[in-house]
């Protein structure tokens, strides 16, 4: 994206701190007292089985959900900053947030425009080039393969230069080549100083990618491990031991 398109440094932050965050839906508690900190140039993995609360946690970090208790701090900013804060957050969901009837270029231009980029068309062209889809930019997204859609969706999430990128099951449905390309892109983003939080249960791909892993079970933190290795063995160990503290 162009330099002029990037957000204000005044609203920037270099870390995110989650402090005792809980979230209930009616009487059901989806998250219970989750705490962690993630800094610039880090990839944090949120790991756990289906229903562990990973998507709820990402929804809270994206400011789409409010915590029932606890708080999230984006550097020195609280989660009440609204639009100013959302300008620095990018989300890539399992659903790709793309309009299938629109072309890839139209999708990217639309979201670039919503983020207030002054040259939305130029930003969309650059994003298409980064996705390796310059030649398919005028085709409707409905004609794309899952991997191609995922590349467009990633560029959509990054088009406004977010500091914090939240990814929910980003490897689902991708073939090996597409998954490897996504891993390489995430490493590039880490080198560029982004904070990346990846919720996944695809442990093979996540192995050797994460700087930190937070394991969730039934909405509760089961373990928190820095520089995790042999992720599958660790995961099986964490998920079968009795729930206690969240220490490593």
């Amino acid at each position: 994206m162009s330099e002029a398109a990037r957000p204000s440094a005044a609203l920037d932050f270099t870390d995110i701190t989650v402090d005792e965050v809980s979230r209930s839906f009616g009487r059901r508690r989806a998250l219970s007292r989750v705490s962690f900190r993630a800094g610039q140039g880090q990839i944090l993995g949120i790991l756990g089985p289906n229903g562990a609360g990973k998507s709820t946690l990402l929804g809270i970090l994206a400011t789409l959900l409010r915590p029932t208790s606890g708080r999230v701090r984006y550097g020195s900013l609280g989660d009440t900053q609204g639009a100013s804060l959302r300008a620095r957050i990018g989300v890539l969901g399992h659903d790709l947030f793309l309009y299938p009837e629109l072309t890839a270029r139209e999708n990217l231009e639309f979201f670039a425009g919503l983020h207030g980029l002054p040259e939305a068309g130029h930003a969309a062209d650059e994003a298409l080039d980064r996705a390796g889809l310059g030649a398919r930019g005028d085709d409707p997204v409905s004609t794309f393969s899952r991997g191609m859609r995922q590349r467009v969706a990633l560029e959509r999430a990054l088009i406004h230069g977010p500091r914090l990128l939240l990814l929910d099951e980003p490897f689902t449905g991708l073939d090996d080549a597409s998954a490897s390309a996504l891993v390489a892109r995430l490493r590039d983003l880490r080198r560029g100083g982004a904070i990346l939080i990846v919720a996944t249960h695809d442990l093979e791909i996540a192995d050797r990618l994460l700087d930190h892993a937070l394991f969730l079970r039934d909405g509760r933190p089961a373990a928190s491990i820095a520089q995790p290795e042999r992720l599958r063995a660790t995961y099986q160990d964490v998920m079968t031991r009795p729930l206690g503290g969240a220490g490593s």
């Binding site: 994206m1 330099e3 002029a4 398109a5 990037r6 957000p7 204000s8 440094a9 920037d12 994206a62 400011t63 789409l64 959900l65 409010r66 639009a83 100013s84 959302r86 300008a87 957050i89 989300v91 969901g93 659903d95 790709l96 947030f97 793309l98 309009y99 299938p100 009837e101 629109l102 139209e106 639309f110 979201f111 425009g113 919503l114 983020h115 207030g116 980029l117 002054p118 409707p140 959509r156 990054l158 406004h160 230069g161 977010p162 500091r163 590039d188 983003l189 080198r191 560029g192 100083g193 982004a194």
Partner: protein, 237 residues
């Protein structure tokens, strides 16, 4: 990489967001034609069935044309409202809209104008059809007719857009939308029917039409202001 030392991000003005959301909705609809065709088909079928049932020897019952017109528009609008937001839900694009750093009421206004455009397209076909089938002389006072139709459509769409957005994440949204919407918009529809009926009277009374038109304008102002006020909260959690 996209995150480094960073110049200023221009804020997205309200009107620009409204225009982008409206243009996007109209582009998607022009490509698929899904909502426009189903809405129109449903509304025309409704008018035809009532015309065959009620018009005898070229004579329609008094007030029948106005009632049928607004019943058809009301039912068709329910269909359009549900599908418009279902489309946003399918690929979770509504979440992407809510994640954008724009004033959320602007998203509401963009969606509202898109619904109004769709209903206006249906009304362009329905009005001459009702006029013809019910021999209703709807176009005897075109300026007043446009006033009544525009204000009634805005009132209906203003409430409907808010409710459809509220219900988009609920499982039984298709059933709940009419259950919630119809009781609230009954006053708007009654005013629309009465205003349209007044236009069809042999002795045209401008004071009566003006009264119903002012009532509709009042409803519009109240509903749009309430929707703008509550949309952010409704969509926040």
């Amino acid at each position: 990489m996209t995150t480094g030392a960073v110049p200023r991000l221009p804020s997205t003005p309200f009107a620009r967001t409204v225009w982008m959301v409206l243009r996007k909705d109209l582009t998607v609809e022009m490509r698929s034609g899904e909502i426009a065709y189903t809405t129109l088909f449903f509304a025309v079928s409704c008018v035809l069935i009532f015309a065959f049932a009620l018009v005898k020897e070229g004579r329609a019952p008094d007030g029948g044309a106005a009632g049928i017109l607004w019943i058809a528009i009301l039912f068709a609008s329910t269909l359009a409202l549900g599908r418009t937001f279902e489309r946003e839900r399918q690929a979770e694009t509504l979440r992407a809209l809510l994640l954008a750093p724009v004033p959320r009421p602007a998203i509401y206004v963009g969606k509202l104008l898109g619904i109004i455009a769709l209903l206006a397209a249906a009304e362009v076909v329905l009005l001459p059809l009702v006029d013809f089938l019910f021999t209703a002389r709807l176009f005897a006072h075109p300026a007043w007719l446009i006033g009544i139709v525009v204000t009634c459509t805005i009132g209906l769409a203003a409430v409907g857009t808010l409710f459809a957005a509220m219900l988009v994440r609920t499982r039984s949204r298709d059933m709940l939308l009419p259950v919630l919407l119809y009781p609230v918009v009954v006053p708007v529809i009654i005013a629309g029917v009465q205003g349209t009926s007044a236009l069809l009277q042999p002795a045209f009374d401008v004071a009566v039409v003006r009264f119903w038109l002012l009532l509709l304008v009042t409803f519009d102002v109240v509903f749009v202001v309430l929707a703008l006020w509550t949309f952010e909260a409704v969509m926040s959690d």
